[in-house]
Every structure is written in C-alpha cells, then in structure tokens.
Amino acid sequence: MTATEALVLPDVDTPDRATRSRPPARRRVGITVVRGALAVFFALPIVFMLISSLKPDLQIFADLGSWRALAPVGDVSLDNYTGVFDRVPFWQFLLNSVVISCATVVLGVLINSMAAFALSRLRWRGRGFVLTVILATLIVPFETLALPLLWWVNKLPALEADGFSLAFTQGWLNTYHVQIVPFIANAFSVYLFYQFFSSIPRELDEAARVDGAGWFTIYSRIVMPLSGPAIATVSILTFLPAWNSYLWPLMVIQSEELRPVMVGLQYFFQLNVSWGQVMAYSSLITVPVVALFIAFQRSFINSIASSGVKG
C-alpha cells in the first residue's frame, strides 16, 4: 500500500498558482467587478427571502419594487419564525429530511461507486451494454415512473416491529425506507464515479494485486480514498434532490411524523397565505443546504471541472 501513498491524480491536481502569469491590473478589476455583479445577482433571491422572513406580510408587498425589499427596515421581528414553530412540527420535518437525505447519500455513494468500480475496473462480458442501459435510464423522468413505482412499493413485503416480535406485512407506504431505497441507485452517480475511476491509473490496481490485494481492497483502500472530489459531487447531487423531494413523499407518506421539509412548506399555503412565514420556513430549510455546499465547495468544483460535467 505504501506505493500508492505518494501518488496524486493528475486530473484533479491544482496547478501551481505561482507559475501562472497574472492578468493586467485593469483586467483583474474588470473580472472582479463582473464576478461581484454575478454574485450579487445570484444572492438577491436569498437575501430577499431572509429579509422578508423578518417582516409582516403586508410590508413585504409594500416594500416590493424598492430598495426596502432587500433591507431589514420597518417592522422587523422574529414573529414569522415563532409562527413557523407554532404552526408546524418543524424539527420533526427537519429530522426526517436529514435522516432521509443522509441515508440516501451514504447508501448512494456506496452502491453507485461499487457499480461504477465494477464497470470501470473489472473485465467482464457485457459491461459496455450494462453501462449503456444504466445511462439510458437517465432519459426517463421520474414523473413517468412515479405511479408504477407507487404500485410496486405498495406490494413489497416488509417487516414490522410488533412489541418484541416482528411481523411480515405488505407495503412500504408510510415508512422512512420508502423515501430512501428507490433513490439509492442513480445512473448519474454511477456515470460520475465511472468517469472519475477511469482517470485513476490502472497501474495502481496492478501494484496492489502484486501486493496480494483483492478487488474489494482495491476499491475500498485505493480507488475510493483517491475519489474525494467525486464522492463530494455525488453527495451533493444526491443530497439536493433528496432534500427537495416533494412528489414522492406526497404520494407515499400519510403520517405527519414522517413528512420531509418540502411537504411541510405546503402547510403555509392556505386561503390567506402567510408570506412572511413562507419566507421564514424557506430560510430555515435552506440553511442546511447552503452549509453543505460551503463545506464541500472546493471538492465539488474540482470534480465538476475534472469530469467535464456541467450542472
């Protein structure tokens, strides 16, 4: 294993900044201004959401169309946040989404990377065909699969705890795992891992084989440790749809105790919509996503850049 420690992937290596020629000062200022303008442009909706979450409903609309919409001025308070916590079991929704999203990410990284490893590193007949079939599933939108999938999961057997015993039941509706299992295998994640694994030199495999390593050891102790950016990218790309999922939990979850945050958002759309509370709730559920992106930002950008995948 020691032979692999000093190896660094050429594709994900960060070029030495010192060797780059710096652009002229005027150009640097121009680039900074453009970047700043873009940053402000993309940040505006989030700023508006955060600021509006502090205002009463009528003031939100009164401030629209002026700079006041983006400034914490007027009757600013945390009343909307208090209203959110009074109106919905926010922490329960949040916990549900965290459990569902994290489980989907962890299992998704594991399963999809294993599939990609088999497709990328192992030699077996038909792997090209299998890869093609997996990629072909990318063109099928989830909406077309939702109803058949619903029918299917409702027929699957399940084990249910009944006191100190277990009982076989039919149907996965109203469970955590019905919100997780159908989304673990993901063609796009397989493709990302496949792309990344293909860039890792095969000489590493051969060296490890000489040292007596099996395929699982190569996967777990050589390939995966070198695939940080791909893992980060897949984690984020799996986490976001899991966090934002709405249609599927709406179809399969009836119990409030198991609903994720996005279904919770609908609680605020009544005949009289409380826009301040909508903004407060949206702010609260956006925080984890932003935090996750900031945490994995560097790896995410590295992987996107190296795999040539654009979102």
Binding site: L64, L150, E160, F168, M251, Q266, Q270, N272, V273
Partner: protein, 430 residues
Amino acid sequence: MSRKIGRIVAASLATLAVAATAGCVAGGGSGDGAGSSSTIELWTHAGGNEAELGVITTIVEDFNASQDEYTVEVTDFPQDAYNDAVVAAATAGDLPCIVDIDGPNVANWAWAGYIQPLGLPEETYDGQLPGTLGVIDDEVYAYGFFDVALAMFSRESTLNDAGVRIPTVDDPWTGDEFDEALAKIDGLGRYDQAVDFGTGGGGEWIPYAYSPLLQSFGGDLIDRSTFETADGALNGPEALEWAQWFRGLVDSGYMAQTSGEDATADFVNGTSGILYTGNWADATVRDAFDDAVVLPPPNFGDGPKIGAGSWQWGLTTGCDEVDGARAYLEFAHDTKYFVEYGEATGLIPATLDAAEEIPAFAEGGDSRIYLELANQFAVVRPETAAYPFISSVFQKATQDILSGGDPQAILDKAVSDIDRDIEQNGGYTF
C-alpha cells in the same frame, strides 16, 4: 474472513426468520380484540390551518367520547398536497374511510369510484346551502360545513371621490355601470389598476373566479342540460362578449394582465381601487381600512353570479366500517359544529340555522352580505366528472385570452378539447 462474514449473515437471517415467524403468529391475533373499538381513518386537507383543524379535532373527540364502538383517527395534509395524496392512495388501494373533497371534484371522485353516496337520511340536509352539497344524480355524495363567497372590496372614500354609487345586493352595478366606475376610479390617478381581479392567480382560482363572470354574461363552461358538450355555452356570442370584455380591461389599463402574487396585500397597500376576491380577505381588508365596503359582483345581463362549493366530507367506496363512518358523518352534521366552523374560520356557515347563531352572519352582521351572496347568486361549478378537465381547459383559455389571443378561436379550441374528452370517456356516465 469472508467465511466468518457469511456465518454472521446466515445467523442473522436465521434469527430474523424465527423472530418474523413468531411475529406472524402474534400478528395474526393482534387485530381488534373483543371489546375494543374499530378504527375509522379520516383524512383532511386542513393541515397547517389551525382553526379548521381545531374544529375537526373537536368533532372527532366528541364522537369518540360519545360511543365506544368506533374510534375516528385524523390524518391531516396540507391543502395544496391533499388531492395528489388522495389520488396516490386510491391508486395504491389505501384510501381511508372518510375524506374531505373540494366541491368541484365530488363528481369526478364519484365517477372514479373513490367515494359512494353518503346514505344519510334526507332530512339531515334541511336548511343547507345548495352549494355546500355534492349531489350527483339526485344522490348526496358529500356535505360541507361552510362555503366561501366571491365579492368585490373597495373603500367608501374611493367610490365617493370617483362619484360612483355604492351598489348593494338588491341593486348591483350593471355591466355598463361597472365599466363606468372603473373609468372614474382610473381617472382619480391614485391606483396602478382600477380593479384587481387576481389575474396573477392560477389553478382552480381561474374557473372559480372567472366562470361566474362568464355566466353573468350568459355563457357557461358546459351545456348543463346534457353535460355532454360545451358547444354554444363556452363559445357562443355571450361567451365571446365576456372574453372581449375581460381582455378589454387589460387593453384599457384598468386591470393588470398578470397581477401581483397577493392581490389582497396589493389592495391594502393601495395598488388597486377595487379588489375582486373571496370573503377570506374580509378581515385583512377591514383591519386595513375603516371605510372598507363589500360590493356584490356586477350584473352583466344574466344577474350577478359567484362560485360555490368548498370543502365537503365524503365516504370512500373501500371503507370497511361504513356504518361507523356514517355514524360519524351524521353525528358531525350538528348545528353546533357548523357554528364552530363559522366562528373559527370566518367562512360562511353552510346552514341558515348556524348563520343565525353567529353574530357576524346573523341579520345585520358585518358578514351577512356573504351569506346573501351565496344564497342568491351562487352557481356550483358543473357537477360532472369532466369538471377537472374542463377546469384545466378553461384555465388555459382564460390565460390565452388575457394574453391577447383571438377570443373566438381560443373558445372554439376549448370547446373542441372538452367535447373530445367527454366523448373519449363515454360521456362520463356512471
């Protein structure tokens, strides 16, 4: 190593199998034992609506305490997610016994086999507003505790300054008077729009809000004598007149082609002179203006019209405890619960008896006008299983008309689409 893992897996599976087998034995007898009550599931759209959910919970608790044969359990969904959840549950064969249904969907759900006739005694519905009953082929499939009414809101000062008379339920504006009023309010120069019809709204708001205007002109969404065609009703001269008038409001600058996200908030903030919306905006408007006035919709020839049919309660076809569910629905149909709904939500109580017990809706009350509007001008959306399709077609047609398309061509296309759908579904006969 792999052999060891294999043993662990095998041992785990064996343990699991034994435990599961034991569980199967135990589970076989874990149903309702002697003396325990049967559970009746009830689903409601009132998730997030504390007032409405509170009343439902009260009724359920009262019913559960009143007898020991049945226990009703409430599951609440947020309103915007509710219909999809019910349809998904129906697909999975997992519907509860009692559901609430948006009025215009009753016929479709009955046709689809989700719900069955309530089977309650006829006299149960004495004194109930017609728009709050889901009646198909003379059978009641659902009843509601409340209704909502469309109205127009303005300020006395605005109308007086514009030199416009204030209309009443007995003497509403004519179409010409309304147009004249809009011109005068526009002439004040105070408002971005003389009237806000909520054109930024989408979905069911469009047929709910605008088909009564069409009906006041003499048109309709479908020929109600047969429910088999929209020809003549949705593309006749009256419908064309409605379409041209509605688009004309945009052309003349009296109305925005797409208004703001919240028309009530815009009205309160002084963006519009007249607001056309439902009585759910009453409290917000009255809180904002001391001189707020509630106006009936104009009479464009066939009398003022407003929509009818809010949420109602129905009994599903797959219910295992039909007697218990009927017992609950009969228990709930009590004036005191209609009163509680009206007081908690501020919406129109569905029976006249309940209205008399709520000061706001009793004779002389601030909200009495909504009851009168609902009683005199309400037109239920077509009671046909084709309604969801008609609704979606009308939504598109209205948006195309407001966008400046050729009204006759748009209406003819809508009629063609609706007629084809009805034909393809065999006339939606039961």
